[in-house]
């Protein structure tokens, strides 16, 4: 009897394996076909292969392509900033804090309120740099406080329960914050004030046409990530965070205050989400109570793509995801004749997730954890 059980389980595993291999091959083939069709359209527009699936596709001009890359990078930098919060909390507590997207939304929302006030007062026009610092400060504070309060009242009492419990709780917290924002500010979309022209205008850097707003987004995102890297890798607090992430019991044996370190982790993740929120507001200039939902899910995807628990991976995953969203519709889907490609951004993001999980389940930069390490 044990013989048959063994046989059946063996054949079942190989069946799943065969299916996964089929999906892998299918995905890889589609991507290769799309890219080859794109390249052949670029080089020799009238060849039969280029016209095989989509005779209307005309490829991209150099400027269009550069534009896609720039949007991808600026969008990706934001995903990266939010993804850091998912990754850090996962690293320390081992669960996905789905309310993190809402922490980001709260940052965008508070930034909107402040920027409206500053705009009314005229400071937005007269001294934009000061206003920028002010709204970033307000957003960081609001997001950090939200994250820390969430940890204190929703997650800390569940510290020793199975990981599924805080996960479900985080979904509840997410709905709570969303609806609180709906109740407070109503369902209408709120617009950020226009950026001053000297900053927002198109510039040409190294032959790349890029709007000032996107430069601002990338610079601020880069600076925030650099600060975070310094905090985590070079300070005593950061060392304590990494120690707690790896082994709480031994960390407390070293005399590290584990609870305080967890609070710091939430606070730092919240601060990054706050910065991301402001950048989002400046770039897309609109915010609703639902603003946190999709970017939150995408940033979570980015964290998984980069290897969850790994900070460098979260940033890289964000940038990879943003770029893929921006470039893949035109480069892979359009040449294959998929209709309505520009609306498939979200589908692309989650396809990237599926691909990464199929080919490199630990994420691009994730280390393979042994069972023992996963604890």
């Amino acid at each position: 009897m044990s013989e048959t059980v063994k046989k059946r389980s063996k054949s079942r595993v190989s069946g799943v394996d065969r299916f996964l291999t089929f999906i892998r091959v299918l995905m890889a083939t589609l991507i290769v076909l799309g890219v080859v069709a794109f390249i052949s359209q670029q080089i020799w527009p009238n060849n039969p292969f280029a016209e095989w699936r989509n005779p209307d596709a005309r490829g991209l001009t150099g400027d269009q392509f550069k534009g896609l890359v720039v949007s991808g990078l600026s969008q990706g930098a934001m995903y990266g900033l939010i993804a850091l919060g998912y990754s850090m909390v996962y690293g320390v507590l081992g669960f996905i804090n789905f309310a993190h997207g809402e922490v980001f939304m709260v940052g965008t929302m508070s930034g909107w309120i402040t920027s409206e006030k500053l705009n009314d007062a005229g400071l937005w026009e007269s001294n934009f740099i000061l206003s920028l610092f002010l709204i970033i400060f307000v957003a960081i504070t609001t997001s950090t406080v939200t994250a820390v309060i969430t940890e204190r009242i929703a997650y800390r009492p569940l510290r020793n329960s199975p990981r599924l419990i805080p996960l479900i709780t985080s979904i509840g917290v997410s709905f709570f914050i969303q609806n609180a924002a709906l109740g407070l500010f109503g369902p209408a979309s709120k617009g950020y004030p226009r950026l001053p022209e000297w900053l927002a205008k198109q510039r040409s850097i190294l032959t790349v046409e890029i709007s000032g707003t996107k430069i601002l987004v990338m610079v601020v995102a880069g600076l925030s990530m650099a600060c975070l890297w310094y905090l985590v890798e070079r300070t005593q607090t950061g060392r304590a965070m990494r120690a707690v992430a790896e082994d709480k019991e031994i960390a407390s044996l070293m005399g590290i205050n584990v609870n305080r370190t967890i609070v710091i982790t939430f606070a730092v993740g919240g601060a990054m989400a706050g910065v991301g929120g402001i950048l989002w507001g400046l770039l897309f200039r609109s915010v609703t109570h639902m603003t946190g939902f999709l970017p939150g899910i995408k940033a979570f995807t980015a964290a998984v793509v980069g290897g969850i628990g790994n900070m460098g991976g979260a940033m890289a995953g964000g940038i990879a995801l943003g770029s893929a969203e921006s470039i893949a519709p035109m480069v892979i889907l359009e040449p294959l004749g998929v209709p309505g490609v520009s609306q498939l951004k979200d589908a692309i993001a989650f396809t990237v997730l599926v691909l990464v999980l199929l080919f490199k389940p630990a994420g691009l930069f994730g280390e393979k954890l042994s069972q023992e390490d996963r604890g």
């Binding site: 005593q236 060392r239 304590a240 990494r242 120690a243 790896e246 082994d247 019991e249 031994i250 960390a251 407390s252 044996l253 070293m254 005399g255 590290i256 205050n257 280390e367 390490d373």
Partner: protein, 240 residues
């Protein structure tokens, strides 16, 4: 002995939920002494260590540090006052570098100069560790990890070192070397409280020992007497 014990249990009882782990345990560790705690699986050895460190709070009885009741004091209080542990299986922070592991041992200290001095002492004690400072601790061999684990514990300038199964998971050739190392640290004046499966080896270097059986101290004697005890010989020494 008339001097105050460094660490002491006075009829300590602990529970995990409804499970009674330690039952009226009395023990005392005096400065500069080497003692060992023997016992089979699930006899309460690890709980004893955790209770000494304040990771488990006793349900009744007293834990004393230098004669002061510390039942409710956190682990960090005991670390500051000279109690530390080399955990079972070393439990280094594998993704942190060797240097970071050592520095975390001194997490509660602020005397930069003293820390530097102690780092130098550890490099002297373990020249191999110095060569690997910037390596991730997880890439070291078992013997090297043991050195870092002991070094990390020494970085808090302890007066008593609790060691949980120091020879567990080490290659047989390293076990002897490890015991010699423990002895060397002990000879410099450190009190050592060792929990060990390898009873023969542990008793051969210890001054005194206790035998724990299902949470109760069943034997409490000098190491020589324990080594000669026929009951102990049959139940523990035969295995090792």
């Amino acid at each position: 002995m008339t001097e105050t014990a460094l660490l002491e249990f006075r009829s300590v009882n602990t529970h995990y939920g409804a499970v009674h782990i330690l039952k009226d345990v009395d023990l005392a560790i005096y400065p500069g002494e080497m003692v060992c705690l023997l016992g089979g699986n699930a006899s309460g050895k690890s709980t004893t260590l955790k209770t000494l460190l304040g990771m488990v709070t006793p349900t009744s009885g007293e834990v004393l540090l230098d004669g002061e009741v510390v039942n409710d004091k956190p682990t960090s209080y005991r670390v500051i006052n000279g109690v530390t542990m080399v955990p079972e299986n070393r439990r280094l922070f594998k993704r942190l570098t060797v240097k970071e592991n050592l520095e975390l041992g001194a997490y509660l200290r602020n005397d930069t100069e003293g820390i530097e001095e102690d780092l130098e002492n550890i490099y002297e004690l373990f020249p191999r560790v110095k060569e690997r400072l910037s390596q991730k601790a997880g890439t070291l061999s078992g013997g090297e990890q043991q050195m870092v684990a002991i070094g990390r514990a020494l970085m808090s300038r302890p007066r008593v070192l609790l060691m949980d199964e120091p020879s567990m998971g080490l290659a047989p050739a390293l076990v002897q070397q490890n015991f010699e190392l423990i002895q060397q640290i002990h000879e410099e004046g450190m009190a050592i409280f060792m929990v060990e499966q390898n009873a023969n080896m542990a008793l051969s270097i210890a001054d005194r020992g206790w035998v724990l059986q299902t949470g109760r101290v069943v034997l409490d004697d000098t190491a020589e007497a324990l080594l000669a005890n026929p009951e102990l010989r049959s139940s523990y020494l035969g295995e090792s």
